[in-house]
């Protein structure tokens, strides 16, 4: 078959894949996802597990070691059949915590530690680079197979050039469809669909070749089995150690490989699909493996000795003259290689950009986290990571020369990623696992893997000198890379798996047992281990798994700010956006505002992290979350808030007690006053009645009549005055008083008041001290009312001052826009406990000091002052009783 036809077919196939991805992306963006959401597509996308290593390498492996290749597919079968154990939980956690990669999962579980994210990322990149190189190698090899077999119409481009072209094409595809947009869930529908298509192609191709081999060349299944049965090759005997070890290894790999995690957890659209995949994916593996052994068998029989068994899927049909079948096989191999590279690259690029590039960038430019659009930066980092990962693979391919058998490289990569297993399983089943334990286990396991398997795989003398290989590190015989601690009898792969995982688990366990997790770790640990306990999730981490919905934000805000505050804040924001109701749109402005609001309650770092979590900017929160770690500060803040609240409560309680006391006293006062007032009313009434009865008898001499009439008149006046006071007070209290505002001279008002008050106890000779110059003030107020207050205060002093030589000092000061007049006498003052009551109605001090008043004077004063816009208060700490009257200089008319 001409080589140019092959190249054209290949290009057409690639164009078709682009088209599929493009159409699906278009439909997904329009929300038409019905087909995408089928369990079939999910299962097919899982077939990313079967790479070129499967497509080409399995036959090579079968030709060399018989049934051993099956282990690579039996392990995943056991894991999927037992999905209820691990996968179900992994999927639930992944969806709940919005995990973006396996590194993110580990980092998130152990207190959102970026260090762990970096470790896992490094392991993944180191382990995957040879694997990617392997895919490039298989594509180049398959090209060269065709180039050799076809007449040289087209010169086969050189090996490196082919690899570069393939890598560039893959980079283009991955960037186009892998970084189109920054989805919060890291899902790439176009790529998933393209991979599902490729899965069908590779299965069909392998089945077609297998059917041709079994029925076309082998004479049917029964004959085939007997042929295999009689084939005598000592290498084909099952080695117990490797059989068990490889089943375990592949089981571990299917969980931990970055690309498997990507399609299994990250790209999953519905948890229910896993149930279907639990048997459908093993079926796919079953079908893929079914014809591997027959192809290898016939290949060994028919192909010339020395031909590469890794390429038999391709060379056997070519050898038999089936050009079309070979082309199909080529497309199958091409599909397996490209789909693996695409998904692996996306998974690795996500990890590299999220755990290494972005944190570094945010560290270099901290202000970027708070301003500007991070999405562009993230996409750029993603694209650079994709190119970087592919370039690494390409470079490895060019350096290694693509000589090693395909299967060996795959196993090394599996063993490398399996180092994540202890931290992963421990993380989802054991709450005691800690950050320190995980980092310790991962580092030790990674180092051991590198020393015992990865570095020696370059060959003696390449990365590890032959001397070290032979005699051990530092000439210590128990540090030989392939016989650690003297374990010599083991197969090198088994040896490496055994020691790396044993030391890894030991490190993980010891580190976890001896260290103490910080609060974030413990919360995350509980959330992961109890992933199915919904109530616990809701209670502990309500905000971490919410959708970016205003309601969820409001819910959180309510818990932090309190119901009223949160609701009114949201309502105000919604109104500012021109929306009715309580839920505003999630604009950056609103979020920033909310964050600031929350920061006041829980601290800036936490608020930022919480909003980022809810808003789904999970990709940039790694850095932010690191700041949260110190929860101690929060606890302290919380207790401070509690203390403050307690203080407030006790203040309120004290105020309530005071008010209560006052009320009780008032009630007593009121009772006393009622009896007093009835007495006051009764006394004049009694004399009025008595004298009027006498008058009514009518036989009194004239002077007596006049005298009695005088008495009756005086008593009636007293009654009237009492009633006037009560009326006055009620008018003042209702604020219905008519004020007669005008300019009045303060000194003259005091003169008037003194003159009027001198009627009270005129026998007492008061020494009045005044400063006339300070009284030169004109006030705009109701002069008569103010004079009434002055009279009241002065006569009170005249009545109650108990000094032998009474002195009344009247001090006037101007303070701001107010005038303050103090009336201070030199008497005993008013007892402390009585001060709170003197301005109340009906209040009187001791009965002994009664002077005919009804206890309304000061109450009236207070009401007058309130109406004049001023105050009258008792001034404590003076030589005697002291009252301060404060009035505004210019009283404005009340509206």
């Amino acid at each position: 078959m001409p080589f140019n036809v092959l190249v054209l077919t290949c290009l057409a196939y690639v164009a078709f894949l682009f088209l599929v991805a493009f159409v699906v992306e278009r439909r997904a963006s329009r929300g038409e996802m019905r087909f995408l959401r089928s369990p079939l597509v999910y299962t097919l996308s899982l077939s990313i597990y079967c790479t070129a290593w499967t497509f080409y390498g399995a036959v090579g492996s079968a030709a060399r070691t018989g049934l051993e290749f099956l282990t690579i597919y039996l392990g995943p079968t056991l894991v999927f059949v037992g999905w209820w154990w691990v996968l179900r939980k992994l999927l639930r956690i992944g969806r709940r915590q919005r995990v973006t990669s396996i590194a993110d999962l580990i980092s998130s579980r152990y207190g959102k530690s970026n260090l762990l994210g970096v470790i896992v990322t490094v392991i993944a990149v180191v382990a995957a680079t040879p694997y990617i190189a392997l895919q490039l190698q298989s594509v180049t090899l398959s090209f060269s197979v065709f180039a050799q077999s076809s007449p040289a119409t087209w010169a086969m481009p050189d090996r490196d050039a082919t690899a570069i072209w393939v890598a560039a094409g893959l980079a283009l595809f991955t960037i186009l469809f892998g970084t189109r947009n920054l989805d919060a869930k890291e899902q790439h529908h176009g790529i998933v669909m393209a991979i599902a298509v490729e899965a069908v192609v590779k299965l069909v191709a392998l089945l077609a070749v297998g059917i041709f081999v079994v029925w076309g060349l082998g004479g049917g299944p029964v004959a085939m089995i007997s042929r295999i049965e009689t084939y005598a090759d000592p290498n084909w005997a099952i080695q117990p150690g490797r059989w068990g070890g490889l089943i375990f290894l592949s089981a571990a790999a299917v969980i931990t490989l970055p690309r498997m995690f990507q399609v299994l957890v990250v790209e999953n659209v519905e948890e229910g699909h896993l149930a279907r995949a639990s048997w459908a994916f093993p079926t796919y593996l079953f079908l893929i493996s079914l014809f591997i052994l027959p192809i290898a068998m016939i290949g060994l029989e028919r192909m010339p000795a020395g031909s590469n068994p890794d390429m038999m899927v391709l060379t056997l049909p070519l050898h038999e003259g089936q050009g079309g079948l070979a082309l199909l096989a080529f497309l199958g191999g091409f599909s397996s290689a490209t789909s693996m590279v695409i998904v692996e690259t996306i998974a690795l690029a996500t990890m590299v950009s999220n755990h290494i590039l972005m944190p570094a960038w945010l560290w270099l430019r901290p202000q970027a986290a708070h301003s500007g659009d991070l999405r562009g930066a993230i996409l750029l980092a993603r694209r650079f990571s994709i190119i970087g990962v592919l370039a690494l693979g390409l470079e490895y391919f060019r350096l290694s020369g693509g000589s090693a058998a395909l299967a060996a490289i795959g196993q090394i990569a599996f063993a490398g990623m399996a180092q994540v297993l202890p931290a992963l399983l421990g993380g989802i089943f054991w709450r005691g696992g800690t950050k320190l334990g995980a980092s310790l286990g991962l580092s030790i396991g990674f180092a051991t893997w590198g020393f015992t398997l990865f570095l020696p795989s370059f060959g003696a003398g390449a990365a590890i000198s032959a001397d070290v290989l032979q005699h051990g590190l530092f000439d210590l015989s128990w540090l030989r890379p392939q016989a650690l601690f003297g374990t010599e009898g083991m197969d090198p792969l088994n040896h490496a798996i055994f020691w790396s995982l044993a030391l890894n688990i030991a490190g993980y366990a010891a580190g976890s047992l001896l260290s103490f997790p910080d609060p974030v770790e413990r919360i995350q640990g509980a959330a992961f281990v109890n992933a199915f306990d919904d109530e616990l999730q809701a209670e502990r981490l309500g905000w971490t798994h919410g959708q970016a919905e205003p309601e969820a934000l409001m819910n959180m805000a309510q818990r932090i700010l309190g119901d009223e505050a949160a609701i009114s804040f949201f309502e105000a924001e919604a109104r500012a956006q021109g929306k009715a109701g309580f839920l505003p749109d999630l604009t950056p402005r609103f979020l920033a505002g909310l964050e600031r609001h929350l920061a006041g309650s829980v601290g800036a770092a936490t608020a930022h992290a919480m909003i980022s979590q809810l808003f789904g900017r999970a990709t940039v929160t790694v850095e932010d979350l690191m700041a949260v770690a110190n929860e101690t500060a929060q606890i302290m803040e919380y207790s401070a808030r509690l203390e403050e609240q307690q203080g407030e409560l006790s203040r309120t309680a004290r105020q309530l007690r005071e008010v209560n006391e006052k009320l009780t006293q008032l009630s007593v006062q009121k009772d006393a006053f009622l009896s007093q007032i009835s007495h006051e009313l009764r006394t004049p009434m009694t004399s009025i009645r008595a004298f009027s009865e006498i008058l009514a008898e009518g036989d009194l001499p004239g002077p007596r009549v006049a005298e009695y009439g005088q008495i009756i008149h005086a008593e009636a006046k007293r009654l009237t005055r009492l009633l006037d006071d009560l009326l006055d007070l009620s008018v003042l209290e209702n604020g219905a008083v008519q004020l007669d505002l005008g300019l009045a001279h303060l000194g003259q008002m005091i003169d008037r008041a003194l003159a009027s008050a001198s009627q009270t106890r005129p026998e007492r000779n008061f020494d009045i001290q005044r400063d006339y110059t300070s009284e030169e003030i004109f006030l705009r107020t109701d002069a008569d009312r103010l004079v009434q207050v002055f009279i009241n205060l002065i006569s009170n002093a005249r009545k109650y001052c108990d000094a032998v030589d009474p002195v009344l000092r009247i001090a006037v000061r101007q303070k701001g826009g107010r005038v303050v007049v103090d009336f201070i006498d030199n008497g005993g003052g008013i007892a402390k406990e009585a001060r709170g009551l003197i301005f109340e109605k009906f209040s009187r001090l001791t009965d002994a000091a009664r002077a005919g008043g009804a206890g309304l004077g000061l109450a009236i004063c207070r009401e007058i002052m309130a109406n004049l816009g001023g105050t009258v208060t008792y001034l404590p700490g003076q030589s005697g009783a002291a009252f301060r009257v404060s009035v505004p200089l210019r009283m404005e008319k009340p509206l």
Binding site: G66, L67, L70, L74, T77, L78, V79, F80, V81, G82, W83, W84, W85, I225, S226, R227, I228, E229, T230, Y231, W236, A237, I238, P240, W243, G244, I247, G272, A275, R276, S278, W279, P282, T283, F286, S289, L290, L293, F532, D533
Partner: protein
């Protein structure tokens, strides 16, 4: 919160579902056991028979998983987590 005592016919359905989960948990262990058996066979057993056996076990596992899966995929809304 405890659910009120359910009628017997409902309890039986829940009970069945729980046993189904137990079966699902057992399945990989059974598979592992069956897959380890060839290691103990004598070397005279050729690759052909071993292959037929392994593929047979494989098909059995797939069949059992397919039988169990629909029952497990039921919504777990009305079953409290993992007691009994």
């Amino acid at each position: 919160m405890r659910r009120p005592r359910a009628p017997l016919f409902l309890a039986r359905a829940v009970y069945r579902q729980r046993r189904l989960r137990d079966a699902a948990r057992l399945l990989p262990l059974v598979g592992f056991f069956l897959l380890m058996l060839p290691l103990m066979w004598s070397d005279t057993a050729g690759a052909g028979h071993t292959a037929v056996y392994v593929f047979g076990v494989w098909a059995l596992l797939i069949g059992l998983a397919a039988y169990v899966a629909p029952g497990l995929a039921q919504p777990e809304a009305d079953t409290p987590p993992e007691d009994v």
